[in-house]
């Protein structure tokens, strides 16, 4: 059986619920292949030698064992199209070099592979023996699919909501203020300190703390935890009732226009409030987009620093602004490294320093840090319901990693990962508690008495 036939056969097994193509979709994809491939992507596409040594660096392949899940196969899907439109042999001898023309079937299969078999975690890039970045190729594939209108509906709907309302959950300023008021009262009662406050829309604060809207809707305790930490550290901070959403489904879709529009809302709000620093809540891709991608999308440097709240908490600790008692968190804890914060963001040691001070027993997963495995929920997979089965299957690698540590608590500084870890916890019966870093640090806080303060 020839390569093209084998590919066609393999595509039958791939979930495909992306719907029919829009008119002109194939032409737009071809135009992008002909004129929209940058130097970096072209170099990567010309570098893969199909050695296949990347296969077991990918959690999706480790979980399903299918060749279609290897990074090399995902790269090859795009490289075949690139060769057809950008190389001499691809035009005159496509069978020899495995070049393939773009058509509806090819794009549908590419969509299933790019959105259903890859979380853009980049572990393959760190470990490719040649030195190319398969995740960047899958991102390019997604850009092709944006042009062709073949992005999973869940991702598209989140982009539309963020563009229309300023956040993916369509929360109004009133919703935010009501929730924060309730959280503030609750926090004051819980800690017995009426001076704890959660300022909103305070002009001239040093720090704007920007949120994942899921926190407001489903995980408000993580906001309370951050508020308590800011209070304990004596930070001059504020929340925003509008344009506070750090999530960015434009990034997941590899749609630079949408990514820029969404990121710009938070950035403009930070500029409006005149803050010195934008502190991003525990959200891996939110950090990556605002810290690393947004300046490139906008074509300008940002007038304020962008840091993860994990970095900020670690700085407070180093500066003696937080006192922690590790005995307050007695259960053994392990740490999941979000790919966008760690492998693609460089925030590697801060969370470890925090845990060593905040919990009695901290056990690393194997492997860990930048070589840790993806939880399986990245790259927009959580929003792409058509790929749910594959997402849970791919999470088996993470579930086994966690189980091997013997931990009772898994910490993760990313709400996207936390959603996935909670689902893995149920599915694989891990019997864990899944928590954010801020929640763990807040529980370990030794607060000064009002007299001491």
């Amino acid at each position: 059986m020839g390569f093209a036939q084998r590919l066609a056969a393999s595509e039958v097994t791939v979930a495909d619920s992306t719907g029919a193509l829009e008119p002109g979709a194939v032409d737009r994809a071809i135009e992008l292949l002909r004129n929209g491939v940058d130097e970096r992507t072209a170099a990567f596409l010309n570098s893969c030698v199909r050695c296949g040594l990347c296969a077991d660096t990918c959690h999706v392949f480790l979980a399903d064992g299918q060749v279609e899940s290897t990074p090399a196969h995902k790269v090859e899907r795009v490289a075949r199209l690139f060769r057809r439109y950008r190389t001499l042999l691809g035009r005159v001898a496509p069978g020899l070099v495995g070049a393939q023309s773009v058509d509806e079937e090819v794009l549908q299969a590419l969509s299933a592979a790019a959105f259903g078999r890859c979380t853009l975690c980049g572990r393959c890039a760190l470990n490719c023996s040649v030195g190319l970045d398969p995740a960047a190729i899958v991102r390019f594939a997604r850009t092709l699919l944006v042009a062709a209108g073949l992005v999973p509906g869940g991702i598209t709907r989140n982009i539309e909501a963020a563009r229309a309302t300023g956040n993916t959950m369509s929360l109004t300023a009133r919703d935010v203020c009501e929730t924060i008021t309730w959280l503030e009262e609750d926090l004051r009662t819980t800690v017995g300190d009426p001076t704890v406050s959660m300022p909103v829309d305070r002009q001239g604060a040093r720090v704007l703390y920007a949120l994942n809207p899921r926190e407001l809707k489903f995980f408000p305790l993580s906001i309370s935890a951050a508020a308590l930490i800011f209070h304990a550290a004596g930070e001059d901070w504020t929340l925003s009732s509008t344009d506070f959403d750090i999530t960015n489904y434009g990034y997941f879709a590899a749609d630079a226009d949408a990514g820029r529009d969404i990121a710009l809302r938070v950035i403009a709000r930070a500029e409006e409030l005149g803050v010195e620093e934008l502190v991003v809540a525990e959200c891996g891709h939110g950090y990556r987009t605002l810290r690393w991608e947004a300046p490139e999308w906008l074509g300008r440097r940002l007038p304020f620093a962008v840091r993860s709240v994990v970095e900020v908490m670690a700085d407070y600790l180093a500066a003696g602004r937080l006192q922690l008692d590790p005995t307050k968190n007695a259960d053994p804890v392990t740490l999941h490294d979000p790919c966008n914060l760690v492998r693609n963001g460089g925030v590697i040691e801060e969370q470890r320093v925090l845990l060593r001070h905040a919990v009695s027993t901290f056990t690393e997963m194997t492997p860990n840090r930048e070589n840790n495995y993806c939880c399986g929920g990245g790259g927009g997979m959580l929003a792409a319901s058509e790929h749910t089965a594959k997402r849970i299957e791919a999470g088996r690698v993470k579930a086994e990693q966690i189980r091997a540590t013997g931990a009772k608590v898994v910490a993760s500084p990313c709400h996207n990962c936390i959603d996935q870890l909670m689902e893995l916890n149920r599915h694989y019966k891990l019997g864990l508690e899944v928590r954010t870093l801020a929640e763990i640090v807040a529980d370990a806080l030794v607060l000064p008495t009002r007299h001491e303060a």
Binding site: E39, A42, S47, C48, G52, T87, V97, L126, P295, G346
Partner: protein, 212 residues
């Protein structure tokens, strides 16, 4: 100058010219310099990518597949040596016998590794599923050239045969998979700079908190 030497010189010019055109065409599509403040050093990342990242323990693709990785390294070293030996045939200076003898060992080892990798590609179901016909062609063209280098290192009268294999390889190289010899350098530079700027590789020491 023999016919095969002239043909080799022309093939070399065509290959170099073709690679240069391909490379220059891409420069127009180079992304602007990154604007996000670096957390680490792009230069350190690039240096790492071209040095320590080649160590067998640096990447899982190498450490988990050590025989294949070592075979690949030996194969490529033999290819570079064979290309150097090929260019040397254009010079009016005979190769010292001691150098030829040492090179023969490398060529033999490289040829064995190249053939072993070819057998692996044909026999491993997953690798076969990743392959295209050109994978076979490219491997055979290179193996023939390395085999010819081995032959010349043992029998200098076979230079025309070696040069002919070199002509075929050089004319094909810019067209297909063998282009990775050029683009690999760019790929490694980009990946090295990416992980270097973000403070991921080389692995950081201690806290890397950066205020931008």
């Amino acid at each position: 100058m023999s016919f095969s030497s002239v043909a080799l010189a022309l093939a070399l010019a065509v290959a170099v010219g073709s690679f240069a055109v391909q490379r220059l065409r891409l420069v127009a599509f180079r992304a602007p310099a990154p604007l996000a403040p670096a957390r680490g050093s792009a230069a350190a990342g690039v240096l790492y990518a071209f040095t320590k990242a080649f160590a067998p323990g640096a990447k899982e693709s190498a450490s988990r597949h050590l025989p294949s990785y070592v075979a690949g390294i030996v194969y490529h070293l033999s290819i570079f040596a064979a290309l150097a030996r090929l260019l040397a045939t254009l010079l009016p200076v005979p190769m010292p016998p001691a150098v030829d003898a040492a090179a023969a060992v490398l060529f033999a080892a490289g040829l064995a590794c190249g053939l072993a990798l070819l057998v692996k590609r044909l026999s491993d179901g997953k690798l076969r599923a990743l392959s295209v016909p050109e994978d076979l062609l490219a491997n055979v063209l290179v193996d023939v050239m390395v085999a010819a280098a081995l032959a010349v290192s043992l029998e200098p009268d076979l230079v025309p045969l070696f040069q002919t294999s070199g002509v075929l390889l050089l004319l094909y190289a810019p067209l297909g998979k063998l282009r990775h010899m050029l683009f690999l350098l760019t790929s490694r530079r980009y990946s090295g700079a990416y992980f270097g700027r973000r403070g991921v590789r080389p692995a950081p020491r201690g806290l890397g908190s950066h205020r931008g």
